[in-house]
């Protein structure tokens, strides 16, 4: 049972991580597009418990940031104004899980701006942008993986089950796709599509493009599963009872592909999140003002940002726990015994 427990453990970890991102509206103090032109590139605020008179406050507080006279993006703490952090505050409206309109946020520090991870060039809170950006990047990864697996399942099954010239043609095509370096293929595909599109369209476009790049390997794996089960005696026996191709595929063969599909999913999702990040980083993915981890990192392409504002690097760190989770899940899935094996 320890194999199963391992699997459950990783599923719980991933579920929690995705849950955090799903609750972006509640957990982030501000709307990700809300600008504060007076405080561009503000560093992360510091929370204090002791004020300048050495008094201890139970509730953490912060000093609002004030622009230093005659400078750009240089701030001082306004120690005159102790602004406590409040929890479960009312703030900008958002839709919980995309459905329920809500105004409740986990924390806030009105009238000051509590930017725990600093702000960007337009004064937008980075924590909010990272959380919301996570939704976009994760969605791209998951949807892209879904498309690839659907495609790969269809093609692999057709090639394996029907065989003959169909199999040859499809497998040659798969070889072709696998021969190309995937990032070049991705860029190539993206290149030949309209450059400036609206954010939602762009998102769908890149999801489809990412999904179309990686179908070859899953298709081959599924094909070999289908091939190995196609000639089994129990399939032949079912045909002897009058089973149609469709029945045989659905009842006997496709359930065998489940472990391949799941393992491939766990491997593909992080790769696809990375693909979205790469595209958006290069300016070919999700456009502003929609946030994604990729276009958040694109800020770092400017040398001045790289040199002076270290907190702009944080979106890169956000993906690491997800990578750990998916890698753990993939290895747990591979270890998990395949139920169609004879004991």
């Amino acid at each position: 049972m320890t194999k199963r427990r391992k699997l459950v453990k990783w599923l719980v970890v991933l579920g929690a991580l995705h849950g955090v991102v799903a609750c972006a509206g509640f957990l982030s103090p501000y709307d990700p597009t809300e600008q504060d032109r007076e405080r561009p590139y503000a560093p992360p605020v510091r929370l204090h418990f002791r004020d300048t008179q050495r008094r201890f406050h139970i509730r953490p507080f912060l000093y609002p940031l004030r622009v230093r006279e005659g400078s750009f993006a240089q701030f001082d703490e306004d120690t005159a104004r102790v602004t406590p952090v409040r929890f479960f505050v009312d703030g900008s409206s958002y839709r919980l899980l995309g459905l329920v309109p809500c105004r409740l946020h986990l924390f806030g520090a009105f009238p000051a701006r509590i930017c725990l991870l600093g702000t960007d060039g337009y004064g937008r809170d980075q924590l909010s942008r990272i959380l919301y950006g996570g939704q976009v990047s994760l969605a791209a990864g998951l949807l892209g993986a879904g498309i690839t697996l659907l495609f790969g399942l269809g093609i692999g099954t057709a090639a394996g089950y029907y065989g003959g010239w169909r199999d040859d043609v499809l497998m040659r095509l798969a070889e072709l796709f696998m021969a190309l370096p995937w990032l070049y293929l991705l860029l190539g595909l993206r290149a030949f599509l309209p450059l400036s599109v609206r954010p939602t369209q762009a998102f769908l476009l890149i999801v489809i493009v990412i999904g179309l790049v990686g179908w070859a390997r899953p298709a081959r794996l599924i094909r070999s599963v289908v091939l190995s089960f196609k000639e089994r005696d129990f399939v032949r026996a079912a045909r002897g009872f009058g089973a149609s191709d469709g029945y045989i595929l659905i009842r006997h063969i496709l359930p065998e592909t489940s472990s391949v599909l799941l393992t491939q999913a766990a491997i593909l999702v992080p790769q696809y999140i990375l693909a979205e990040m790469a595209l958006s980083f290069l300016g070919l993915g999700v456009p502003e003002p929609l946030a994604s981890w990729g276009n958040l990192l694109a800020n770092l392409r400017q040398y001045s940002v790289l040199m002076s504002y270290w907190w702009m690097y944080l979106p890169a760190v956000a993906i690491v726990p997800f990578f750990i989770g998916y890698l753990g899940l993939a290895s747990a899935l591979q270890e998990w015994a395949d139920p169609s094996k004879w004991a």
Partner: protein, 269 residues
């Protein structure tokens, strides 16, 4: 009496080699003719490669013969279209050698045994449940086994399950292709006894294919010896064993353990 199934000049040719290398034509079955009367057991004995399995596949309509006729139920089933065969298939069932590969390890015994009924779509939900249990009981499997997955069963239980499944559509002819060869000695005996009992209680006709002449002698009413795609000798077991006419028969007999040319078979082989 009208034979249940009559095979006329059956030939099945295979091409060896693929694509540009093909050339050799191998006759797996070469002008085979025989018939089986209803209610009896015909044993088809031969060395491996003699064409026994190919014949079984042709009779069960899994392969089309190159030429020849198979008369069954008044029709030549070798010439039928797939659609027409659907009616015929339930009447001729094939039991393979390896019970492990004939069963989907993921499914439960009950699901396996009722699958043919599902496919033929002539039973209601409730009736099917009961019918499933009845089928399992008939081959000596208890109700508890019904919810076990195929991979959890023993070799003997699996083979019983395969037979139960084959019986679910009430076939007239049951072809057993080396059905006992993969089992251990005592299980072989048990399954053999089950087959005998089923034949008497359900008026089944068996085509029992084996390379084991001992088994054939015990179970069959008639033995046909097959060699290189042809039937070389045919007759009742006693006569065949006492005075074999053909070379192939003689070599098969020579391979048998001396002590056991008796009609009874006990638990020990």
């Amino acid at each position: 009496m009208q034979p249940l199934i009559q095979v006329e000049s059956l030939r099945k040719l295979y091409r060896s080699g693929k694509g540009l290398n093909s050339g050799h034509v191998v006759p797996a079955i070469n002008e085979v003719s025989f018939s089986i009367a209803p209610g009896i057991t015909l044993a088809l004995v031969g060395e491996s490669g003699s064409g026994k399995t190919t014949l079984a596949l042709c009779l069960a309509c899994f392969e089309r013969p190159t030429s020849g006729r198979i008369w069954f139920g008044g029709r030549d089933i070798a010439a039928l279209e797939e659609k027409q065969l659907r009616v015929v298939r339930p009447q001729i069932q094939l039991v393979f050698q390896d019970p492990a590969s004939s069963l989907n390890p993921r499914l439960t015994a009950h699901e396996i045994v009722t699958e043919p009924l599902l496919l033929q779509r002539n039973w209601q939900e409730r009736q099917m449940r009961e019918r499933g249990f009845a089928l399992l009981e008939r081959v000596g499997l208890s109700r508890e086994v019904a919810t076990c997955r195929a991979r959890e069963l023993s070799g003997g239980q699996r083979q019983r399950l395969v037979i139960a499944r084959a019986l679910s559509l009430e076939p007239k002819l049951l072809i057993l292709d080396e059905a006992l060869s993969a089992l251990d000695c005592s299980t072989q005996a048990q399954i053999a006894n089950l087959l005998v009992e089923l034949q008497t209680s359900s008026a089944l006709t068996f085509l029992f294919i084996t390379h084991d002449l001992v088994m054939a002698a015990h179970l069959a009413d008639e033995i046909a010896v097959m060699n290189r795609g042809q039937i070389v000798e045919q007759g009742v077991p006693e006569k065949l064993l006492a005075s074999p006419q053909h070379e192939a028969t003689r070599s098969l007999i020579a391979g048998m353990p001396r002590a056991i040319v008796r009609p009874h078979m006990s638990g020990a082989c």
